[in-house]
Symmetry: D2
Subunit: 167 residues, 4 copies
């Protein structure tokens, strides 16, 4: 049976410590659910942390990279998809994820583009710890698809809801 | 000598009349500068209007389509690039444009993703008529790259500035 | 540690029974090596058979799909990357594979494009059971990168060689 | 009215003088028909020559580049689409061309991938000056879609036929 891929998007090099800690917890909890972590796969910020968290629970991790080699891949990624297509790969992450958690704490433009592309594809996003402006912005794009949560635990609970309703 | 491509991004089917009117004027003014209009190329909203505006001044128009045929192409587009890659084509629009005008009036998620991808690629965006939330959101992503204007005339003046500084 | 992805490319709907049988054996042997099967992921021809073969040995299977949903995904694929970019996804398969086996028996144009893209990316291909014309054609493109074999067993042995030399 | 884009694919850095001469003539003749030259856009081999030929007749030229800047763009290209997606851009060239001429003299793997992708998309290819192996290979993939010619003049005549039948 096809495994469930949970996409976790978030800042790379400019991730705050809070974003990194939340990502580690997310990875941990995703692995406990026997879901696969899907991420941008780089060895930085939220990408590194969510994969590290998943591997600490023996989870499976899948990374979709913007470049065409593994020179910047997190050591906690089990399998890498090398797209060689830069930020155009963001849309592949969105389409492939069965549920999407966006770490909005210290969010950058790459992560923001992914949240927008998800809404464009009519997929719900779970916005974790956005500031007021980001929350208002995404709710303005589509209130029904934007689910705001404050903690990794709430994010996982919401992902369960959405996956359940999707079946 | 290579022609200057000015990307105009904006809402399609849900564009407001104000957005459509501004897009027509933009197309008109871009043609008068002997620049090429670069857009998403569909026969809807800002895409249709900006190309129509350009053709009314005998400008040249180039569309980058998400699908692989011309069944939804604006009749005002001279040349179409058929990507067949859905919203992943948004990044190609961003990379190809020498200057980028984002019609933020009645902005949707596709347009928002393009503005984010531009900032991710370190390219300035000219935000035309955003609401307060959108302006704050994009300035939060990168204040230096976000240029907010109120009218098509101001957008063209800002594009000239940016193109001049870029040479 | 990152898992090894072995790409198996080959015909879909028009695959001969011989191609299907070879693909099943390949999937089986790849799983026994603890490698991951990487394929186009559809429920047809070589794609279906190689994944079925791998699952019969409890292997792990990863599919990179041309469309944006799982409506045509093989039931033997564990994880799917949904690209939504048609045949442009062929290049992602090439870049992502640590070794590439091309089932050239009853080869079609999609598979042929992947073999060409591999050579373009300077990656070796293991051509399984090509006819004389195909062998001559790919050797003409690049003799050093084209390794011709007759059986799945020889293909796996060659993959081992190439993976070993690559480390 | 939408302009007709004629794709000319062929070798870059390793193009023979004969391939370059044929490409120049093709560009020239395409411009005389008031068609637009569509190519890979780089400043090498067939790409450089076909655009130079078109500009010598004041034709319009459009290039679809694999990288994300114009550092390797031919000076004879009027407008560049910067994809930043490497060889995945080959499929965009195929989809966008109203007719496709493949300079098969001294053909390399990139050009060969484009011919295969065209057949995969069910588009006819005009193979100019292939060797016997290449002709047999592409006819083996699809005899109906493979049109072999010996000279640029024959290639243009065949393109006219195909464009006419397509309307």
């Amino acid at each position: 049976m096809r495994k469930i891929l949970v996409g976790v998007m978030g800042p790379g090099d400019k991730a705050s410590q809070k974003a990194i800690d939340m990502a580690f917890t997310l990875g941990n909890m995703i692995a406990k659910e026997s879901w696969v972590v899907l991420s941008g796969g780089r060895n930085a910020g939220v990408m590194e942390a969510v994969n590290k968290g998943a591997k600490s629970e023996n989870g499976l991790t899948l990374g979709i990279l913007p470049i065409s080699d593994n020179s910047h891949t997190s050591e906690y990624v089990d399998m890498t998809i090398l797209t060689g297509m830069g930020s155009a790969r963001n849309n592949i992450e969105i389409l492939s994820a069965d549920a999407l958690i966006v770490v909005a704490e210290s969010m950058g433009s790459g992560t923001a583009s992914e949240a927008c592309l998800a809404i464009k594809s009519n997929k719900p996003i779970i916005l974790l710890a956005p500031d007021q402006t980001a929350q208002a912005f995404f709710e303005g794009l589509n209130k029904d698809l934007t689910h705001t949560v404050s903690t990794p635990e709430e994010a996982i609970a919401k992902a369960k809801d959405l996956l359940h309703n999707n079946q």
